[in-house]
C-alpha cells in the first residue's frame, strides 16, 4: 500500500478486494474504487445489494484486508490501525452483548478507544442524552428494540469524539421518529465540524443530509459528487396544465417559443423544458398565456437521488436493473461503465 498524504478525511485510489480461496472461485468485490471525502462534509455511499459498499467501509475500518489500496484516512494510511484513533464506527448490524447495559456499551467502547475513565464517564451521559437513550442507559441491551440498539450504536461510535464518523446503515430498523433523530444528529455532527460517512439504502435519508454522494455498482464507483453535480444537464422546468387543456396545442406553443423542444408527460399533464435557466422559460409561459391556456404550476425540477440511483443500476442495453451481487468473472468491465472510470 502506498501512502498518499491528503488533507481530505478519506482519500483513496484504486481500492481492490478479491475474495476467494487459493484454487477456488474468485469474486471481485471491489474493482478499483477511488473516492474522496472532504473534511466536515456529510458523504453518502449508496448502491444495490452486493455493490461492495460494506466491503469498502470494512476496509476503511480494517475489518477486511484490501487486495490493493492506496490512500489515506485522516492523513494516516488507509486500512491501518493508526488511522482508527480518530474514527467512530457504527457497524451494519451491531451485535452488542446482551449482558451489558447501554451505558456500559458506550463506556466499553470509549475504553477500547483509549479514553481515560473520567472523560469516558462524562461523555457517556452526554451521548445517551444526544441519542435519546438517557432513560434506558441503565437497562440491559437484551431488552432493547432494534432501534434502541441502533441509537446506542451511534452513541458508542461518537464516544471518543471522533473527527470522522462512519455509519453503516444507521437507520436500519429505526422508526420514522428515530430516523428524523438520526438525521438531526448527523446535521449536528456536521455543524460540529465532523466528517460523516453514511452507507445506506435509504435514498431519501441520504438526500436529506448528504453534501455529496457516491453510487457504487458491482464494485465500482459509477457516480460521485454533489446532487447538483450529478443532476447537471438533467434539470428542467415543469409546466403543469389542467385537465381541460389541449396538450398538443400547448406543446407546439412551447416548442415554438423555446430554443429546445420540450417533452410531454401525458399522464401527469406536464410539459418539461430541458433548462435550468428561468429566463429561458419565460417566453414559453408568455406564449401559453397569450393563447389563453391556463397553467396550474410552473416549477424547477431535478432528478431525485432515486432517479440517479435507478439510472446507475440499470443496464443500458436491456433497460432492466442489473442483477444484485458482485461480478464473478474477474476483469469483466462493469456494464454501462467504461473500464477505469471510477
Amino acid at each position: 500500500m502506498l501512502l498518499i498524504v491528503s488533507d481530505a478525511a478519506i482519500d483513496i485510489t484504486g481500492v481492490e478486494k478479491r475474495y476467494g480461496r487459493l484454487f477456488g472461485k474468485k469474486v471481485d468485490a471491489l474493482r478499483g474504487v477511488s473516492m474522496r471525502v472532504d473534511r466536515g462534509e456529510v458523504f453518502g455511499l449508496l448502491g444495490p445489494n452486493g455493490a461492495g459498499k460494506s466491503t469498502l467501509v470494512k476496509i476503511l475500518m480494517t475489518v477486511v484486508r484490501p487486495t490493493k489500496c492506496r490512500g489515506s484516512v485522516l492523513g494516516q494510511r488507509a486500512g491501518t490501525v493508526r488511522s482508527l484513533a480518530r474514527v467512530g464506527y457504527l457497524p451494519e448490524h451491531p451485535n452488542f452483548p446482551r449482558y451489558l447495559t447501554g451505558r456500559q456499551i458506550v463506556e466499553y467502547s470509549g475504553a477500547l478507544s483509549g479514553m481515560p475513565r473520567k472523560r469516558r464517564r462524562a461523555r457517556v451521559g452526554e451521548l445517551l442524552e444526544l441519542v435519546g437513550m438517557s432513560d434506558w442507559g441503565g437497562s440491559k441491551v437484551g431488552g432493547y428494540s432494534k432501534g434502541m440498539r441502533q441509537r446506542v450504536g451511534i452513541a458508542q461510535a461518537l464516544v471518543h469524539d471522533p473527527e470522522l464518523v462512519l455509519l453503516d446503515e444507521p437507520t436500519d430498523g429505526v422508526d420514522p421518529v428515530g430516523r428524523r433523530d438520526i438525521r438531526d444528529i448527523t446535521k449536528r455532527l456536521k455543524d460540529e465540524g465532523r466528517t460523516v460517512f453514511i452507507n445506506s439504502h435509504l435514498l431519501s435519508e441520504l438526500e436529506a443530509v448528504c453534501d455529496r454522494v457516491a453510487i457504487m455498482v458491482k464494485g465500482r464507483v459509477v457516480q460521485q459528487g454533489t446532487i447538483d453535480e450529478l443532476t447537471e444537464g438533467q434539470r428542467g422546468y415543469e409546466i403543469e396544465l389542467p385537465a381541460t387543456a389541449d396538450l398538443d396545442l400547448a406543446r407546439s406553443v412551447v416548442d415554438a417559443a423555446s430554443p429546445e423542444p420540450c417533452t410531454l408527460d401525458n399522464a401527469r399533464r406536464t410539459l418539461v423544458l430541458p433548462t435550468e435557466d428561468a429566463e429561458v422559460v419565460q417566453p414559453a409561459i408568455d406564449a401559453l398565456r397569450a393563447r389563453r391556456l391556463v397553467l396550474r404550476s410552473v416549477r424547477p425540477v431535478r432528478p431525485s437521488l432515486e432517479d440517479l440511483f435507478m439510472t446507475a443500476v440499470t443496464d443500458p442495453e436491456t433497460g432492466r436493473p442489473l442483477a444484485p451481487g458482485a461480478d464473478r468473472k474477474p476483469g469483466q468491465p462493469n456494464p454501462g461503465q467504461p473500464e477505469g472510470d471510477t
Binding site: R65, L100, G114, P116
Partner: protein, 396 residues
C-alpha cells in the same frame, strides 16, 4: 497507557460475560459443595472419619496411628489428589471448556468483531488479550476453591500453607493447554460446538498418549527393577556356585563331563547349582522383555515430548505442596499391604509396591520443570502464534 485501558476494558467485559453466565455460578456452587465435603473429613492421629464415621479401611489410617504421617499431610494429599486432581482438573475443567467454548466464536460474529477491530489496537494484541481473558473462568474457580481449602486445612489440619495457592497458576496453566485448542478451532470454524468437540477430542488424545506413556514407563521401571533384583540373585547364586565348586574340587570330587549335563546347562557353575541356570534364564527373559519394551516407551516419550503434559503439570502441585519426605511417607503408607500394580501375579522377582512406587516417583520427579512446563508452553505458544497469525490475516 492506551493499551492498558484497552486491556482493562476487555478484562472487565470478560468478567461481566462470565458473571452473566449460569454455568459459572453453578460451577462455583459445586466447588463450594466439594470444599464443604472436604471440611467434613476429620483427620486425627487416630484415623480418618467423615461426619463421625471412621474410615478404618483406608491404608492411611495405619500410617496415621503409627505416626508415619501427620493429619496435615493427609489434608494436603486430599486437596492435591481429590480437590485439584479430580474436581478441578476434570469436572471443573469440563465445565470450563463448555463455558468458554463460545468466547471466540461469539467474539468473531458479525457486529461484534467489527466493533473491536475498528479500534486503535493491533489484531495480534487483541487476539492474545481475548485469549487471556478466557482463562478468567478457571482462575476464579481455582482461586475460590483454593482459598476455601486453605481455610479448611488451616483450621482443621492446623497447617497454614500458602504454597496451596500455587494451585492457581498450575491449574490455569493446565487449562490454558485446552483453551488454546478452543481458541484455534473457534477462530478457524467460528463454531462453538466444533470448538468444544475438537477440544474434547484433543484432550482425550492427550490423555491417551499420557496414559500410554505412563503405563509403558511403569512397565519399564518394573522391568528394570526386576532385572536389578534378578541380577543380584544371579550374582549371589554365582558366588554360591563358585564356592560350592571349589569345595567339591577341594574334596577331590569331580564335575560330570559336558555330555552328561542337563539340557540348557551352560557351565560347571550351573551343574553345581542348578538354580543358577534358572536365574540366568529369568534374567535373560527380563532383559528381553525390557528390550522389547524400551523402543515403544522411547517412542511414546518422543511423542509426548512435543505435546502438552497435562498430568505432569498438575503433579507439579503435589511436588510443590508436599516435601520429598512427606511424599515418601505417603507412598510408604499407601504401599503398605499393597502389591506392585504392574507385576505379574506370583512374580517373585518383581519389586515390592513400595520399591516400585518410590522408583516411579523418582523417575517422574527427575523429568524437571522444562520437560513439564517448557515443552507444554512451547506447544501452546506455537498454537497461539498460529492463531494470532490467522486472526490477523483473515477478513471478517
Amino acid at each position: 497507557m492506551i493499551a492498558l485501558r484497552q486491556t482493562i476494558a476487555i478484562f472487565l467485559d470478560a468478567y461481566r460475560e462470565l458473571a452473566a453466565g449460569k454455568i459459572f455460578w453453578i460451577s462455583l456452587g459445586l466447588s463450594g459443595v466439594v470444599v464443604g465435603v472436604f471440611a467434613l473429613i476429620g483427620v486425627s492421629e487416630t484415623g480418618i472419619s467423615i461426619v463421625g464415621f471412621d474410615l478404618d479401611f483406608l491404608p492411611l489410617t495405619y500410617a496415621l496411628r503409627s505416626g508415619l504421617i501427620t493429619p496435615d499431610i493427609v489434608y494436603k494429599t486430599i486437596f492435591v489428589n481429590l480437590g485439584i486432581g479430580l474436581w478441578l482438573t476434570w469436572a471443573a475443567s469440563i465445565l470450563g471448556v463448555v463455558t468458554t467454548a463460545g468466547i471466540f466464536p461469539t467474539f468473531l460474529s458479525a457486529g461484534v468483531i467489527d466493533s473491536h477491530l475498528a479500534r486503535p489496537m493491533g489484531r495480534a494484541r487483541l487476539f492474545l488479550t481475548k485469549y487471556t481473558t478466557g482463562l478468567l473462568f478457571m482462575t476464579s474457580q481455582v482461586f475460590v476453591f483454593t482459598f476455601a481449602s486453605f481455610l479448611v486445612i488451616g483450621i482443621r489440619g492446623g497447617a497454614w500453607e500458602p504454597r496451596l495457592f500455587l494451585a492457581v497458576p498450575i491449574v490455569v496453566c493446565f487449562f490454558s493447554y485446552l483453551y488454546a485448542f478452543l481458541a484455534i478451532v473457534g477462530i478457524l470454524t467460528r463454531s462453538t460446538i466444533a470448538a468444544m468437540i475438537a477440544t474434547f477430542i484433543a484432550w482425550f488424545a492427550l490423555f491417551l498418549v499420557n496414559t500410554t506413556e505412563s503405563a509403558l514407563l511403569a512397565y519399564r521401571v518394573n522391568a528394570e527393577l526386576t532385572i536389578e533384583r534378578v541380577a543380584e540373585r544371579v550374582t549371589a547364586a554365582e558366588e554360591y556356585a563358585g564356592e560350592s565348586l571349589a569345595q567339591i574340587r577341594d574334596n577331590g570330587g569331580e564335575i560330570p563331563p559336558r555330555d552328561e549335563w542337563p539340557d540348557g546347562t551352560t557351565d560347571e557353575l550351573e551343574v553345581t547349582f542348578p538354580q543358577l541356570g534358572e536365574r540366568r534364564r529369568a534374567l535373560a527373559d527380563a532383559k528381553k522383555r525390557l528390550a522389547q519394551l524400551t523402543p515403544w516407551h522411547d517412542a511414546s516419550v518422543l511423542a509426548r515430548g512435543v505435546l502438552p503434559k497435562t498430568k505432569e503439570t498438575i503433579d507439579l502441585l503435589r511436588t510443590s505442596v508436599l516435601s520429598e519426605e512427606d511424599r515418601q511417607r505417603v507412598i510408604d503408607a499407601g504401599s503398605r499391604d499393597q502389591r506392585n500394580p504392574v507385576a505379574s501375579f506370583g512374580d517373585e522377582d518383581a519389586p515390592s509396591a513400595g520399591e516400585f512406587n518410590t522408583e516411579l516417583e523418582a523417575r517422574l520427579t527427575q523429568r524437571g520443570l522444562w520437560w513439564t512446563l517448557g515443552t507444554s508452553l512451547s506447544f501452546e505458544a506455537a498454537l497461539l502464534v498460529f492463531g494470532a497469525w490467522r486472526f490477523s490475516r483473515r477478513d471478517f
